[in-house]
Structures are given as structure tokens and as C-alpha cells.
């Protein structure tokens, strides 16, 4: 798959696996099949970048969604993007972002740019509760 409709989610622990599972529940297996989960568990910095690089090459992904901007997944992803100008890295992944990407009829930058908008828009205070101002 190299048409830009495929993405890797690289995150801590089981987060990526959980997000893909959630996409499957919400949007179906075909949408979830566009997303490859990747965990940083047990891997050091160099090995993490090597393993992620291999995942990018075998999957044809043109975007990696990561969780923390300071996380090892983001560092590894940016290291690979430095070698491959066709690869985008988006930090702060959330479910709304992934649903937008996985359900997008187009691929490439248009798909992940829209996904970033959707992901940002999904973050809001729904109820302030007693601690609100």
C-alpha cells in the first residue's frame, strides 16, 4: 500500500492497539485495516527507530501518528522522516483524528491534514463541573 491511505500509529504501551480496536468498533474493520499499531515496549532508541523504519517500508505508510511530542515514538518517527521527506509525523493522536483519517476517501496529505483538524476540534471541555471557572 503506497497510495497514502495507510498510516502507522506509534505509541506507548498498548495505546496504539487500543486505538485501532476502537476505530474498528466505531467505523468497521475496513477502516481499521488502514491503521497499523506500533508499540515502543521493550525497545531502546536505536532499535525502536529501526523497527519503525521497517514498518514504514513494509506498509507503505506516508504518515505516522504518535502520542507524546516528547515520547520515544515521536523521536524515532522524526528520525525516519528526516531520511524520508515523503513521510509526515503527527503528534497527539486521538480517536477522532484516526476516525477521520481512516474514513477519508482520499489519501496523502489531504487526509492527515483534515484528521489533524478533526482531532483538535474533538478536544473540548464538555462540562466544567465544580472545579471550573
Amino acid at each position: 500500500m503506497s497510495d497514502g491511505t495507510f498510516a502507522i500509529i506509534a505509541a506507548h504501551g498498548d495505546l496504539a492497539e487500543g486505538l485501532v480496536s476502537a476505530v474498528s468498533r466505531v467505523a468497521g474493520a475496513a477502516a481499521a485495516a488502514k491503521l497499523m499499531p506500533f508499540s515502543n515496549a521493550t525497545l531502546g532508541g536505536t532499535e525502536l527507530a529501526d523497527s519503525l523504519r521497517q514498518a514504514v517500508e513494509t506498509s507503505g505508510a506516508r504518515v505516522i501518528f504518535t502520542d507524546l511530542p516528547a515520547g520515544s515514538c515521536t523521536i524515532a518517527a522524526r528520525r525516519i522522516a528526516h531520511e524520508r521527506p515523503d513521510l509526515a509525523v503527527v503528534c497527539g493522536v486521538n480517536l477522532a483524528m484516526l476516525l477521520s483519517f481512516a474514513l477519508s476517501p482520499v489519501g496523502g496529505a489531504a487526509a492527515w491534514e483534515l484528521a489533524v483538524e478533526k482531532g483538535r476540534a474533538a478536544i473540548r471541555v464538555a462540562e466544567e463541573g465544580a472545579g471550573g471557572h
Partner: protein
């Protein structure tokens, strides 16, 4: 002393360092001691962009770290010194850096390393480095995040679980 933690972690600057230790210790700065990173502007940008705006990262070689350590210790903020391998930390300790405790925060799976804990895998040279650090009177223990119990070096080296 402004440097609160001396940590060995092969992921260098990452979530556990910036968030896991950074928030409870209110870290103001990180000193990353790595000869390769110290020579590469790009590598430095990579790690610098990963930290929040209230935190600074300083890049040092083993040699320059020895020269600047006193200045870092006089800073008013809390700091964490980070090396990516045991050899660099050993060089600092044996070079007279006056370090009281070393935190083995993460040495992950790699060919030639044996599992000791979920986040600590060691090869014979790394075990030797850690023993040498301890022999200098430094308290060496494994601890990935502040809420975890530290595992002393003697205990760590008898473990065989990944």
C-alpha cells in the same frame, strides 16, 4: 545540588524523563551527555523540540560535561543528567564527577543483552560498568518511574526476567 537524578536511559529524552520524572521533580533542565549528540545540531534539535517550553536541554560530551557540571549544580532549578549508556556514566563517575546515586532507567532489548527486568537488559560489559560505578561508592539502582520501587544493583544482577 541542582541535579536531582543521574539517569542511564538508552531512549535519552522521552516520555518517562520529561513527564514521568519531569513533572513530580519540577525539572527545569536536562543535561544530555552523549558524544554523538553533542556533535550533531540535528540530533540536538530533535531532542530539544521534544521538551516542553519550561524545560531546557543542554548537550555535553563526556569531557565538556565534566567541565560544566559544577555550573549545572549551582543552577536554581531542578535538573536531571542523562546518559544513553553505562560507559558514559562510568566515565563521569571515574572522572571524579562526585555522583551519589545512579538511576538505571532503561536499557532495552538488544542483541547480546540479557533480560534483568522489563526495562533493563544488560550485556557483560554493561554489568561490569555498573559494578565499577558502585565500587566508587555510588548507589546504583534500577527504577523506570518515580512511583516504582528502586531495585538495588545487587538484586538487579541476580534477576533473569525480562
Amino acid at each position: 545540588m541542582a541535579i536531582e537524578v543521574y539517569r542511564i536511559d538508552d531512549r535519552l529524552v522521552h516520555g518517562q524523563v520529561v513527564v514521568g520524572w519531569g513533572q513530580p521533580l519540577a525539572l527545569g533542565f536536562i543535561v544530555l551527555v552523549d558524544n554523538l549528540v553533542a556533535e550533531s545540531e540535528w540530533e540536538q534539535d530533535l531532542y530539544r523540540m521534544g521538551v516542553p517550553p519550561e524545560m531546557t536541554v543542554h548537550f555535553e560530551s563526556t569531557t565538556s560535561a565534566m567541565e560544566h557540571l559544577r555550573e549545572y549544580r549551582l543552577r536554581p532549578e531542578h535538573g536531571l543528567l542523562l546518559t544513553g549508556d553505562t560507559a558514559t556514566m562510568r566515565a563521569l563517575v571515574e572522572g571524579g564527577a562526585s555522583i551519589g546515586a545512579v538511576n538505571v532507567g532503561g536499557l532495552h532489548h538488544r542483541a547480546g543483552r540479557s533480560p534483568r527486568m522489563r526495562y533493563v537488559f544488560l550485556d557483560p560489559t554493561e554489568e561490569s560498568d555498573l559494578r565499577a560505578i558502585a565500587a566508587c561508592g555510588v548507589d546504583v539502582s534500577a527504577q523506570d518511574v518515580p512511583s516504582a520501587l528502586p531495585v538495588p544493583l545487587d538484586d538487579l544482577l541476580t534477576r533473569s526476567g525480562g
